[in-house]
């Protein structure tokens, strides 16, 4: 992605960017991956515990237990966001908190809390999906394409 942009730069700009890049601290990729692995894995293990709880104590099957599990994980994430600690954990964990459904809930809760100053309708209501919107849009659209292709293939195969 960045190479495509580099070609549109003038020689002076390219020279400067090489100059500055050599002097910028690099992101600690390996360390970040390790932290993401640990925290992401832990969040999923907690999710597994929540699933087991619902499986044993309620009438859920392996197929349907995903629903209450996700709802509880979302609740945990919203509580941590409201307490003001989620962003500090996320600075350490990176994708470890962003990739699980906790990241989705955090994006909505943080936007809702932040924009309360603009009122409940335009602020909270209007801006809640500021960050989560793209996830829903792309999820739905890609699922639509996948389902359409699969359904058409099945019908063609059948016919």
């Amino acid at each position: 992605m960045s190479n495509k942009k580099k070609k549109k730069l003038t020689p002076v700009q390219q020279e400067y960017q090489s100059f500055s890049r050599a002097r910028e601290p690099k992101r600690p990729v390996l360390l970040n991956c390790l932290k993401a692995f640990l925290v992401g894995g832990l969040i999923c293990a907690i999710g597994q515990g929540v699933s087991e709880f619902f499986l044993w104590n309620f009438d859920f099957t392996e197929k349907t237990v995903g629903n209450p599990t996700v709802a509880i994980m979302i609740l945990f994430s919203v509580i941590l966001t409201s307490a003001g600690v989620y962003d500090h954990i996320a600075q350490w964990a990176g994708a470890g908190t962003a990739v699980p459904v906790t990241g989705f809930a955090n994006s909505m809760a943080s936007a809702a809390i932040e924009h309360r100053s603009e009122g409940f309708v335009l602020g909270v209501g209007g801006k809640m999906f500021k960050l989560a919107g793209s996830v829903i849009v792309f999820g739905v659209f890609s699922a639509f394409i996948v389902a359409l292709v699969k359904t058409l293939l099945a019908e063609l195969g059948g016919a």
């Binding site: 390219q14 500055s20 910028e24 409201s82 954990i89 964990a93 962003a98 809760a109 943080s110 809390i113």
Partner: protein, 336 residues
Amino acid sequence: MQQGHQTWLFKNKPVIISTAAVGGPHEAEGPLADDFDLLHGDLWVGQDSFEKAETRMLEEACEIAIRKAGLQKQDIQFFLSGDLLNQIISSSFAARTLAVPFLGLYGACSSSMESLALGSLIVDSRGGNHVICGTVSHNAAVEKQYRYPTEYGAQKPPTAQWTVTGAGVALLSAEGAGPRVTSATIGRILDMGISDPYNMGSAMAPAAVDTITAHIRDLQISLDEYDLIATGDLGRVGHAIAGDLLKKHGIGFTAGKFTDCGILIYSADQPGVLAGGSGCGCSATVAFGHIMNRIKRGELKKVLIVATGALLSPLSYQQHESIPCIAHAVSIEHIH
């Protein structure tokens, strides 16, 4: 009076008769806490939104500076200010409270020196007797507008900076006692094609170097004239790059005399600071607080402040534009 291509030499040397620096909780925990006139324990400043808190801090800074000079609001001719919020609302709403003729500016984080340069031009040309120049920034209000909601869990890279919650103003007068503004170099916009808003230091360094180069060329001086040269908010990353760029262009300077307000305002172990402080309030509170105090104590005689600004908007970033930057330099001297 114009000197060289883009510099003003102030014959009458406007006097900074008082200054004020107001800060927030993060600044209160930093090494320059004693140089603030007022520090707040939380980000709300008694208001119900971060934006209103930013306005209130600028109002407080103006009130303190006017009071310290022994004047009233009615004695001030002009108020020059800018900030980072859309339509510079903090400055406009503070101007409403101040009820002083108002010139709104936008220079992003270079606003402190942009306003000081223009204010000095007004006073020097006898266009006004008392002029207040300053700016303000608020960490949460700026993050909300430029980046993400404050509780959002986005991981910041090591080149990111922490926006200062602070307001800094200087009250200029044609006569009186205090450090004097002797010259100002207006910068031009430089864009090196950097588009990462988490890497402003690298984006702004060339603009700082360009303005410093223009300053010494226009005035035919060397940087050794100054006891201190402070860039606005290049941070650790941008400041090191600027230093190397100056050396590459053959501009000599003494290492201990070249610093950056974004590096001075926080200690390296404060959480979230990463590469250093940024925001309009960074250069304003450090220049009008800490550096002014050092000049008044006699520790520094001649100082050059080079405030740097990144002129992007959240929309320009989404439209894959790079970050155009600017730097304005003002020299301040203690003349007996």
